[in-house]
């Protein structure tokens, strides 16, 4: 044991965290803009120097015994998801891809067209998740789609997670055309049974074996014990650890995690989300315990303009004190200046506002909703998605929350709203903050030493 160095080669910043494994404490962190165009190691070394300086001030010998990394540089793990019916296998494929820490570029349904094939070539995904049909269900469409994908002019691994009855044929078609294809259990073997874990695991393996290399990230990193997983996956793992615990350390139970970033806002819930009260009929695709949603139009830098437009459309701007004209200009600037760090009062205020709106809209989209159907005797409530009203804890991470002036005021946007009672958000949650930005680091450590990782979380996440 000794000191662990945990690295996140992020899309904008390379972040480093040092953990004392013996004392089980956080020692310090540093960051530097990711230098993926030239050589990721340049930025890494700058950040490392800074971290070393900070630690040596504490009179600790710097000798990193364990070095682990995750990465979302070079666009992260870009996935195209293909399914059959939009609300069924296409939706299941999207949930699986996001759950594996991927960035979903686009979701396709029904038979792929030649134009869609060309579009996929332009999108250049790192991986294609091909699903469609329950086991014993529709075979025609997924075989057609395998044919279309076999004509792709780009080299991209394809994960087949559809109807098992057409797996052999689809595999042959893809192999004949020199496509790399792996077959895995169907993500929706029965209409009422979602089975995404095997596909997620396979995606993670492919990320390690093929994708990291293809992105030119691993060549010069040999002194690190290589990149273990996509960054979102590390954060998701930390959340799961905190909620569920390990064999020896208890977790804190159901949890909702919100990560407000520059380009996206991610929400992940760890809860079965079964209706807390009676009188509900559950409809739609079965929901996984860990469900991640990513909002590509909500973020406080790159996506700031989109966020503002969405907010205006959804009438979130009414209560805002800042004059709209001024805000438009500022937000436009932010969206072009993605490395900008707010320092003066006004900029900090704008960031806070953007983070709060991102949180509110992202959570509204994530949680389940009920629709009231008026039947002849009495109204019936139909639940789509997860009922998260009883979730006791909301955890905030990501620059938009952590660096905000008043993180609690942002996280409070996740609370159930009596004016919109059909949006099933937590009613009276406690708030946790990832103040030291250690979620990704703990997710990495959890691979090797889950108990210690969980104790670190309990020590360094703070209730606000």
């Amino acid at each position: 044991m000794g000191i662990a160095l945990l690295v996140d080669f992020g899309s904008t910043f390379t972040k480093l965290v040092a953990i004392d494994l013996e004392k089980e404490i956080f020692l310090g962190s540093s960051y530097y803009p990711t230098t993926v165009e030239t050589d990721v190691m340049i930025g890494f070394k700058k950040a490392l120097n800074e971290l070393n300086k900070k630690i040596s001030k504490k009179n600790i010998d710097i000798d990193y015994d364990l070095k682990l990394a995750c990465s979302s540089a070079a666009g992260g793990l870009k996935i195209v998801a293909v399914g059959l019916v939009p609300l069924l296998t296409s939706q299941a494929a999207k949930i699986a891809a996001l759950g594996a820490g991927g960035k979903v570029l686009k979701v396709y349904s029904y038979k792929l067209t030649a134009d869609e094939r060309d579009e996929i070539e332009i999108l250049k995904p790192d991986l294609i998740l091909l699903s469609g049909g329950t086991d014993g269900g529709n075979e025609k469409v997924i075989i057609h789609n395998a044919k279309v994908l076999s004509q792709l002019k780009i080299d991209v691994p394809i994960v087949y997670a559809g109807n098992k009855c057409s797996a052999t044929i689809a595999k042959r078609i893809l192999k004949e055309n020199k496509k790399s294809v792996s077959i895995i259990e169907n993500i929706l073997p029965e209409l009422n049974y979602l089975n995404i874990e095997p596909a997620k695991e396979l995606i993670r393996k492919l990320f390690l074996s093929n994708i990291i290399k293809a992105k030119g990230l691993s060549k010069r990193m040999d002194f690190l014990s290589s990149v273990l997983m996509p960054t979102p996956s590390a954060v998701l793992k930390a959340g799961q650890l905190l909620a569920k615990g390990t064999d020896n350390e208890e977790g804190i139970g159901d949890l909702m995690l919100i990560d407000v970033g520059g380009a996206t806002t991610d929400v992940c819930s760890y809860s079965l989300g079964l209706p807390g009260t009676g009188g509900f009929v559950v409809k739609g695709l079965p929901q996984p315990y860990m469900k991640r949603t990513v909002e590509g139009d909500l973020g406080i830098r790159f996506s700031a303009m989109n966020l503002l437009n969405t907010a205006k459309k959804e009438n979130f701007m009414k209560k805002c004190k800042i004059k709209l004209k001024d805000l438009d200009k500022k937000v436009e600037k932010l969206s072009r200046n993605i490395n900008f760090i707010a320092k003066d009062e006004k900029d900090i205020e704008v960031d806070k506002l953007l983070s709060a709106i991102s949180t509110k809209i992202a959570i509204n989209r994530h949680v389940g909703k009920f629709q009231t159907k008026y039947t002849p005797i009495s109204p019936v409530n139909i639940l789509y998605g997860k009922d998260l009203r009883d979730v006791p804890t909301v955890l905030g991470t990501g620059g938009g929350v952590i660096k905000a002036k008043n993180p609690k005021s942002i996280l409070e946007k996740s609370i159930f709203d009596e004016d919109e009672p059909y949006i099933l958000k937590p009613k009276s949650p406690k708030f946790l903050l990832d103040k030291y930005y250690i979620m990704f680091a703990v997710g990495l450590l959890a691979q090797k030493m889950p108990d210690l990782a969980l104790r670190l979380l309990k020590k360094h996440l703070i209730y606000i």
Partner: protein, 141 residues
């Protein structure tokens, strides 16, 4: 079961705002026991849920129940939606208590057949009748 090889796949559900769940469960059990693969989408099911389920599972037949008397309104346009969704030749059966009160059933039957249902059943039809007809329509011995 078709040509002795694979199981016939049936999407089963109760359409519209109808909550009568007992008959649905009974039909699921009886049809499953008979050897069919039943995909039961349950009560309160809109037309789209039947159709989506049928596409994803490549079902051979959709059996619609309507017990509360509003079957005519709930079922209207279902055949057209099937055509639109690319499963226009799907077999559609409907039964339960299709209309309010005790109307002459030949008239009711005509209405549902004109709406594109292949078979429509009067109240009190036994599940066995349904099974016999399925076997007849799909050439199952």
């Amino acid at each position: 079961m078709i040509a002795g090889k694979r199981k016939l796949k049936i999407v089963l559900g109760v359409i519209g705002s109808d909550v009568h769940a007992v008959g649905n469960k009974i039909l699921e059990n009886v049809l499953t026991e008979e050897g069919f693969k039943v995909i039961n989408i349950g009560v309160l099911s809109p037309q789209e849920d039947f159709i989506n389920a049928a596409i994803e599972t490549a079902a051979d037949l959709i059996v619609v129940s309507s017990l509360y008397g509003h079957g005519e309104i709930d079922c209207r346009g279902m055949r057209e939606k099937c055509i639109e969704a690319g499963i226009g030749d799907m077999q559609l059966y409907v039964g339960g208590n299709l209309v309010v009160g005790k109307k002459d059933f030949t008239e009711v039957k005509k209405i549902f057949e004109e709406m594109g249902f292949n078979r429509a059943y009067p109240p009190g039809t036994s599940p066995q009748q349904l099974i016999d007809d399925i076997k007849k329509d799909f050439n199952i011995k």
